[in-house]
Every structure is written in C-alpha cells, then in structure tokens.
C-alpha cells in the first residue's frame, strides 16, 4: 500500500496495487506535469518505482488566479 499526502488539499489517500509514480498519478487523475511528487525529500519522475509502505507527497502545481 502507498500513502499519498495530497497537497494543497491536505488529504491523505491510500492506494493499493500501485507500483509506479505514473500509476499513482493516474489513480489521482493527474498528468505528470500537473503535480510534483516527493518521497523522502527527493523529487520523483513519473517512471520511478514505488514500493509497498512508501509515503509520497503529491503537490498539484496549479495556483488559482
């Protein structure tokens, strides 16, 4: 299971059977240039693997106005 801290919404979402950043973004209905993804202070590109137990921060980049 992957734990996602979704920002700026402040929501915590748990994803099952997700093995890559791209997979996580797809489940969140985000394209790869719509959010930055961080694991332990490291930015991840969409092709990176995720492992069971990972916690990632997904921050949408669109600012309103």
């Amino acid at each position: 299971m992957i734990t996602v801290n979704l920002e700026p919404d402040g929501k915590v979402i748990e994803l099952r059977r997700t093995r890559s950043v791209l997979g996580a973004l797809n489940k969140l209905k985000l394209r790869s240039t719509m959010a930055i993804v961080v694991r332990e202070d490291e930015l991840l590109t969409a092709d990176r693997k995720l492992y069971n137990g990972d916690t990632i921060m997904v921050r949408k980049v669109t600012s309103a106005g």
Partner: protein, 317 residues
C-alpha cells in the same frame, strides 16, 4: 530516466523539451530559460534597477532569487493588502525570505494608505479582485516611477500567460489582446513591465522552488474565486499532455503573428493619457480610477459610520 546533461538519475521530466534533469542540472536549465527570456524580449540589463513584485507565492519568490543569483540589481516590493488572517501570513513569508537571502525589500501598506482591501469588498459593488488587481498594478507602477526604477518584474509564468490570453481570446477582448506580452515597453507615465518567467510553466517553477527550498505552501486569499482561470489551466494541462509544447506555441504564435493586428486596431480607438490630478498616474480622465475608488469608499464609509452612530443613539434613547 537519466539527466540529459550528466546522465545521473533525473528528478524532473519535461515532455515539452524532450528532456529530464537531475537536481544539480535542473536549476541550470531554469537559469537558461530566464536568460533567454530576458535577452530575446529585451527586458533589462545589469545596469538597470528592477523592482520585483513579491506576492509571497512561489513564482514571485523564485523570480526574485533567480534574478539576484544572476547578478541583477533587484528590490522586492510587497503590497500588504490588509486582509485579516491572510495578509499577515503572506507578508511575513516575504520578509523572512528576503532576510534569509539578503534581498532588498519595500513593503507598501494599503491600510496606512487609507484603503485596506476589505473596505473595497464592503463598500464597492464590483468584484473585489478586479479592483484589487488594479490597485496592485497602480502602486507597483507608481512606486517604480517615483523610485526611478527601470522596470517592474512580475512572476507570471507560461500557464498564467496562456490562461489569460485564452480567456481574452474567448471574449475577443481587443484592448487586452493588443496589450499583453512578456515585455511592455515604458510609455508616458508607465514604467516598463516584464515577465522573466514567461517561458517556464507552473510545473517548472514548482520544481525549481522545491529544489531551492522555497516554501511552496501558500494559503489562498479568502476572497479568491479563481474558478474560470483554474478551469482554463486544467484544459490547457490536458492539451499540453496530448501535444507537448502546445502552450508555448499558442502564446508565442500570438506574440509573433497575432498581437500586432490588435495593437493597430486599438491605436485607432485608444484614448490619450494625462497625469491624474490627484496622484500623477497616467489616466484618460481628470482623476484616475484608483483615486476615484478611494474617494468613493471614504464617502460610503463615512455615511455608514454616521448611520450606525445614529442607530446607536436611537437605541440608547
């Protein structure tokens, strides 16, 4: 994915550039894009004094830091809007940032000037954001003019520019279409306006900010609606996904081939400008709209206060 420059593991992938970069090489990519923007659009030189509009958002802080790192003579200007539970936070973020990076900063307070934004919301029957935006542009320009600056720089990125161009195109707003772009040259009473981040997307500035340790959490303004703008950005996000580079092509194509036609159109109908008789800012009428709004709020506020005093006296009697 590997870094295009040094072949280490990439941390940022940029489909529109068919490239990926590692954390050490990405800031170099960012710097190149800003340098290209400044050079090609003739924004400013190392002899110019530049006033940078600092809202507290990641884009304005990233811009300020990058220009300083490139050795430009930059001073930040933050406008404290006087909105409770919002403006203090934005202001202290800007102050801390400028302290930490040894950057020059001016703060202008709307409340001290006599018109905090909540008063606009309470007493003026028009969308607060359009007036707030007008106020900010007015003061940035006025302070730059009075301070003898050569240019005012703002942190608008490619997504901001495309969303705005798109909205104005949907309305065929010829006045706006004749008058947008990464560099607006100085004109009678107006200081040159520049947007050095216009080649970079919101995603690209977000990555830069993250890698530079700029706090990218920003609480939205309580008055923000931003709905249509955000919708347009999402639409464009999808278009960009389907054909990477589309955003820049749309914007750049307009600048190269579309804008001139609208500018010609406006030349025939545009008004002539004179200094405002109250504040000296350029306007097509005697007193500029900012001074008129300020006066009108003062009148309505006085009426409202004397009415409530009257009510209070009646209640006591």
């Amino acid at each position: 994915m590997k870094c295009q420059r040094c072949k280490k593991l990439a941390c940022v992938a940029l489909p529109s550039h068919h490239a990926g970069f590692c954390k050490d090489c990405y800031p170099l990519f960012f710097t190149r894009q800003v340098e290209t923007a400044i050079r090609r659009e003739k924004m400013f030189t190392h002899d110019d004094r530049i006033l940078v509009a600092l809202s507290g958002g990641k884009d304005s802080l990233a811009l300020m830091l990058e220009l300083k790192l490139q050795g430009y003579d930059v001073t930040g200007l933050h406008i404290d809007l006087g909105i409770p539970n919002s403006s203090e936070g934005a202001r202290s973020k800007v102050e801390k940032f400028c302290d930490a990076h040894d950057l020059k900063l001016d703060v202008f307070e709307m409340e001290k000037w006599g018109l905090p934004i909540p008063d606009v919301k309470q007493y003026i029957d028009r969308p607060v954001c359009s007036i707030c935006g007008k106020m900010k542009r007015h003061h940035f320009n006025r302070i730059a003019r009075e301070g003898g600056y050569d240019a005012v720089a703002t942190g608008h990125n490619l997504d901001d520019e495309v969303a705005r161009l798109f909205a104005n195109t949907l309305r065929w707003d010829t006045a706006y279409l004749s008058d947008q772009g990464p560099t607006l040259p100085a004109a009678e009473g107006f200081v040159r306006k520049v947007k050095p981040l216009f080649r970079l997307s919101e995603f690209e500035t977000a990555n830069y900010s993250f890698l530079k340790g700029i706090d990218i959490h920003s609480a939205p303004c309580p008055y923000s609606t931003g709905a249509s703008f955000t919708n347009h950005k999402e639409l464009w996000g999808e278009l960009e996904f389907r054909s990477p580079g589309q955003k820049f092509q749309f914007y750049n194509g307009f600048m190269q081939r579309g804008k001139a036609a609208f500018a010609n159109l406006e030349k025939e109908t545009g008004a002539t400008l004179h200094p405002c008789d109250t504040c000296g800012s350029p306007t097509s009428v005697g007193t500029c709209s900012v001074c008129r709004i300020k006066a009108s709020v003062a009148v309505k506020k006085a009426e409202w206060l004397s009415e409530s005093e009257y009510e209070a006296a009646r209640a006591r009697a």
